[in-house]
Symmetry: C3
Subunit: 363 residues, 3 copies
Amino acid sequence: MKALLQEVRRNPLLWLLVFVPAVFVAAKLEPEAHTLLFVLSVLAVVPLAALLSHATESVAAKTGDAVGGLLNATLGNLTELVIALTALRAGEHMLVKASIAGAIVTNTLFMLGASFLLGGIKHHVQEFNGVNARLQAGLLFLATIALLVPSLAMQTSSEAAAEFAQTLSARLAVLLIVAYGLGMLFSLKTHKELFASAEHGAEGEAPWPIGLALAALAGVTVLVALVSEVFVESVQKAAEDFGMSQAFVGFIVVALVGGAAEMTSAFAGARKDRLDLSVGIALGSASQIALFVAPVLVLLSYFIGPAPMALDFWPGAMVMMFFATLTASLVTNSGRSAWFVGVLLLMVYLVFAMALYLMPPRP
Amino acid sequence: MKALLQEVRRNPLLWLLVFVPAVFVAAKLEPEAHTLLFVLSVLAVVPLAALLSHATESVAAKTGDAVGGLLNATLGNLTELVIALTALRAGEHMLVKASIAGAIVTNTLFMLGASFLLGGIKHHVQEFNGVNARLQAGLLFLATIALLVPSLAMQTSSEAAAEFAQTLSARLAVLLIVAYGLGMLFSLKTHKELFASAEHGAEGEAPWPIGLALAALAGVTVLVALVSEVFVESVQKAAEDFGMSQAFVGFIVVALVGGAAEMTSAFAGARKDRLDLSVGIALGSASQIALFVAPVLVLLSYFIGPAPMALDFWPGAMVMMFFATLTASLVTNSGRSAWFVGVLLLMVYLVFAMALYLMPPRP
Amino acid sequence: MKALLQEVRRNPLLWLLVFVPAVFVAAKLEPEAHTLLFVLSVLAVVPLAALLSHATESVAAKTGDAVGGLLNATLGNLTELVIALTALRAGEHMLVKASIAGAIVTNTLFMLGASFLLGGIKHHVQEFNGVNARLQAGLLFLATIALLVPSLAMQTSSEAAAEFAQTLSARLAVLLIVAYGLGMLFSLKTHKELFASAEHGAEGEAPWPIGLALAALAGVTVLVALVSEVFVESVQKAAEDFGMSQAFVGFIVVALVGGAAEMTSAFAGARKDRLDLSVGIALGSASQIALFVAPVLVLLSYFIGPAPMALDFWPGAMVMMFFATLTASLVTNSGRSAWFVGVLLLMVYLVFAMALYLMPPRP
C-alpha cells in the first residue's frame, strides 16, 4: 500500500485518480449529464490505465520472459479490451470496430510519430533495432489483409455475403491468434537474440512486490470496467453536444484515452534515446490489438451481447488501417529516425483525424 | 531409357506415373465419373510436371545460360500453360484467369512461404541474394499494375468499356512480354554478375543426355496436354461434388497441381540452405506467369477458342495479386529469412484460401 | 543581355524561342486554328521553361541555401503553376486536376525512369544518396494519402459529401504546405549534412548576374502566362482533332510540356553519373507539385475563377498517383540503380499512358 502511495506521489498522472470516485458519484446523482460523465470518465480512465500498465509490468518482471510476454500481451491492452467488451455487451458493434481500428491507427501513427518527434527534437539522429519493428509491422500487415477480406465481401449487401463474412471472421480470428502466438514464440523463444535491446517495460521504475501487483491488477480491472460502462453510455450523447461525429469519437477519442498510459511510457523512452522501447510499445500494442484483442472480441461475441460480430469494417476504416500499416512499414524499415519522420507520421494521422472530424453524419 | 528408369526408381514422386494410363482408361470407360477423373488427373499431372521440369533443366544445362534461360522461361511453366490453353480452347475464360491469378498468388505466398518455413526449421537464419528477388518482385509489381488497369475499366459494364479493356489488354500483353525479355537480357547478359549465386535448376541431380531430354520434353508435353483435357473437363463437376467453390478450384487446386514439381525443387533447395534457388524458382515462376504465360494466352486467344480474352480480373483476384506481390516485396527486401517469415507468408495464403473456400456461389 | 544571347547560342533548346512571337501572331490572325495554336504554344513553352529554370537557379545561387531553396520551391514549377492558374481562371477544374496528377506521375515515373535508363546505358551501376529520395518519397506518400481522402468522400455524390470534400480540401491544403515547409527546414537547415551531395541546380553552367536573372524571371513569367492562355484555350479542341482523349492531354501532354526544362537537366545529370541531381529534380519536383502547387491552387481558387476547387480526383488518377509513388518508394529505397530499373519505371508509365490514350470518352 505504501508502494502504491509513493507511486501516486511521484507520478502526477495518478493525481487524476481523484476522478474515479467522482465518476461514480456523478453517475448516481446526474445520470443524464452525459457531457459531464463523458469528461469525468475520460479523466478517470487515464490514471487507471497507468496503474494497470505498471501492475502488469511488475507481474511480468517476476515471472520471466515467456510468461511475462504472454501476460503483457493479454493485459497490455486491457483498457481497450474492457471498453470494447462493455460496448460489445451493449450490442454497439460499430463502436467496437471503430475503437479497434482507431487503436491500430493511433498506435502506429500518433504514438510512433510523436515518439520519433519528441526523441528527434532532443537527439539528432536516433537508431533502433529494426528487427522487432519489422516483425510487428509484418504481423500488422497480415492482420490488415485478414480484415480486408470480410470487409470486401460485405460490399455486396446480400444475406449470403453477411453469413459468409461471419463464418470467415470466426475462422480468421482463430488464424490471427495462432499467428500472434507463433510471433511470440519467435521473438521470446527461438530467435530472442535478434530482439536483444527491444525489451518491453519501463526500467528505472522499481517493480511492485508481486502481491501488491496482483491485487492492483484485480482491483483496477474492476474499476476500469465500471468506469468504461459510464464512458460507453455517455460517449455518444456527449459527442453530439461537442459537435463531434461518432466516427471521430470512436476512432480518435477512445483510442487516445485507452492508450494514454502506454503513450507516457513510449514518449519517455524516446526522450531517453531508448527508441527500441518506444517502437516496441507503439507497434507491439497495435499488433496486439489487431491479432489478439480484435479476434478475441469476435470469438467472445458468440457468447456476449445480442448477436455475433463479424470483422468487416467500413471502407474508410480499411483505407486508414492499410495506409497506417504501410506507412509504419516504410518508415521503420531503415532502423533510423529523425524528427521529420515523426512529423510525417503525425501529418498522416492529422489527415485522418481531420477527415473524421469533418465527416457529415450518415443519413 | 535407363536414365529415365533410374530416375523413376530414385524419385518416389514418379511412382505416380502409374496414374497416367489410369486416367486414359478411366476417361474411356467412365466418361461421367467426374470426381474419379478429377482425382486421377491430378495424381497424373504431378509426376509429369516433375519429368517436364527435369527435362527442361537438362536441355538448359547443355545450351548455356542465354538459350537455357529462354527455354526455362518458355517451358518452366509448361504445365500451367497447357492447362490454360485447354481451358482457353473450351472458352472457359474464367478458369484461365483464375488459374493465372492463382499461380501468381500460390507461387509468391505458398511456395516462397513454405520454402522459408522448411529452411528456417533447419537453419536458424538464412541469407539469400536479394538482387534477384528484387528484380522478380519489380517485374511482378509491373505486371500487377498492368493487370489492374483493364480490371478497373471493366467495373463500368458498358460496351465501350469492354472494347477498351480488350484493345488495351492486347497492347499490354505485348508490353509485358517486352519487359520480360528485357529482364532476361538484364539478368542473363548485361548484369549477370549481380545474380551470381541465384542459379536456377537443381544441381546434384545429373542432367539427362540431350537426346533423351528432348524426347522426354516432346513426349511428356503431349501427355500433359491429354491429361489436362480430362482435368479441365472434370474439374468443375468434381468441385461441386466436393463442395468446393469454383474460385477455390481455379485459384488453389489448379495452382498447387500445376506447381507441384517446382515446389519439390524449391523446398529441397531451402532445406539444403540454398535459399537463392528457392526464391529464384518461386518468384521467377510467378513473374514468368504474369509477364509471359498470361500475355501469350491473351495473344493466342485471338486465334484459339470462341472469343478473344481480355486481361480483366474480378476485384477479389486483383486484391489478392496486389497483396501477394506487396508482401513478397516487403519480405524479400532484406535478403534474410527465418522460420517466422515463412509463417507470415503462409498465413496470408491461408487467409485467401479460406475466403475462397467459404465464398458463396455467385447467384 | 550578352549573357542571355550567349546562352541562346549555346543551348539549341532556346532556338525554339522563335515560336514565342509566332504564337502571338497566330493567335491574332487565326484565333480558330486550334491545332496550329496548340502546336505553336507547346513549342513556345519549352524554351521559356528552360529560361525560367536557369533564371531561378541563378537567383538561388546568389541568395544562399535557405532563401534559394524557398525560391526554387516557389519558382521551380512555375510553368506548371501558370498553366494551372490560367485553367483555374477559366473554371476548367478537370484540366487543373489532370495536370496536377499528370505532373506527379510524369515526374516520378517518366523523368526518374528515363534518368535511370539514360544513366544506366552509360554507367554499369550508379549510386545515389538515398536520404533525399526517401524524404521526397515520404512527402509524396503523405500527399497521396491526403488527396485520397476527399476523393473517397466524393464517391457518394450527395451535396453533403461535396461540401465535406471542399472544407476538408482547404484544411488539407494548409496541412500540406506546412509539411512541405517543415521538409525544407529539415533538409536545408537542421539535417542538411545528410543531404550532402544532393544539391539542386545544374553546376557547370555559369549563373547569370542577379540583375539579369531577376529581369528574366519577371519577363519570362509574363510570357509564359500569355502563351499558357493560348495553350489552355486551344488544347481541348486540338486534342479532339488529334483523336486524343481529354484525359491523355491533361495527364501526359501538359505534364511533358511543363516539365521539359527540368527533364533536360535531370537527363544531363544522369549521363554525367550525377544521379543525386536527377533523383532530386524528379522527386523534388513531384513533391513540390503535390505539397505546394496543388494546395496553393486550392487556396487561390477561393479568390480566382468561378467556384472553389476541391482536391478530389477521379479514381483512375488516384490509382495512378498511388502506384507511381509506391513504385518510386520501392525503387529508390536501395540507393543503387541500373538500366533495368529505369525500364521498369518507364513501363509503368507506358501502361498508364496507353490506358489514357485508349480510354473511351465519357458519355
